[in-house]
Assembly symmetry: D2
Homo-oligomer: 123 residues x 4
């Protein structure tokens, strides 16, 4: 089966890159929020999130940074916290037939919200 022909002929190549990148952002957030994490485990968790999310269609690269300062400031009596939206900054590079989209997850204080937005996209 030609998946692209059958399911995606109603959007452009640029839009396909956008579409797949957006799915990956929603997936990443809702899969990993809640995971126990602290300063000792954080690099391991970042690597694992990156590796898992790079498996998805069109996803060329995922970079995630978990805020070490927040980890320290919010840690409980038991020396870890649950990963939350305030702690993560993510950049997703999605490519379809040469068209690139760079998408971001970033907590915006003014909005009190982990915003997902488009940083750059090919014409």
């Amino acid at each position: 089966m030609n998946v692209d022909e059958k399911y995606f002929k109603n959007i452009s190549n640029r839009e396909r890159a956008l579409f797949e990148g957006a799915i990956t952002m929603g997936a990443l957030f809702h899969q990993f929020i809640g995971t126990p994490v602290n300063l000792e485990s954080v690099s391991e968790l970042e690597r694992s999130i990156k590796t898992a999310m790079e498996l998805q269609p069109c996803i060329e690269r995922v970079d995630i940074e978990i805020d070490r300062r927040i980890l320290e400031e919010t840690k409980s009596e038991f020396n870890y916290v649950s990963l939350s939206g305030e702690m993560i900054k993510v950049e997703v590079l999605s490519i379809y037939k040469g068209k690139k989209a760079v998408l971001i997850i970033e907590y915006i204080k003014e909005l009190n919200y982990p915003l997902m937005y488009v940083k750059k996209i090919d014409e």
Copy 2:
């Protein structure tokens, strides 16, 4: 802050609808896969998934159908199963400034994969 001006001026209205709908599909899948479910609880779970996902930006309507036949066929000795990608069919209607996108999650047997695709999108 004008979020649209600041973060989304590099994509069209149609693309914004596509973008927000795609995020919601990734989010829905990775938030709820794994939830215990059986024939008695399935309607409740469908309603709750619908209600939760309709909170997200630009999401006008989410319809989800969990396959009752698969629930019955796969149920364990303990009379329930974990929700999986094979069981769900989802339709998301996303609208931004009048531009509509209808997106689908559907398990495609030939691909052995819960495909997310674009059913209809305004010009």
Copy 3:
């Protein structure tokens, strides 16, 4: 197969009730943390969490209360938040062969932690 004979003969009836209740608390927390929620959707989400978790072995009753005040205070520009450990109070009643355990998930400010503990357990 007699599951109890084969897999659980090394613990008492009271311990089995404790064991199954504890599994359900860990499951509930890590399945639903991150779910979008606001004042309009909160009752629906509570019902759905209750119904899903009551499917698990030995679980007689799950009561969950999501804190409406925190929902209001922490809501984002987009009028909802991700469910977090600070917001939930849960009581799980687990029974095995007449032995009851009542278990609690409760955010304890002094610990900065959603503590899971034993409220009452039969001798």
Copy 4:
């Protein structure tokens, strides 16, 4: 605050080990089921699950094995799958004041269920 005095004086040391281990099994399952995984990423994911879950109270060691054969057999057209209960075998060592509990998550074909049970527990 003395957490043990305040919240756990109604259970024995052996029961506390059992309790904390059971929470961790429920948490592990419902946090990570659904994660994208294939043969290339599986070791990374195993390490990350281990590291995250070993942060929880009383958890001395978590060993997880994701079944490579199932990964290969069930992979989609897109060369990965969502982690499911059929794929995992987990052993959790929980210790409280010298009392050890060894707990297992294992998919039991006859039950069609990822059973959580007690392998060994100190008197």
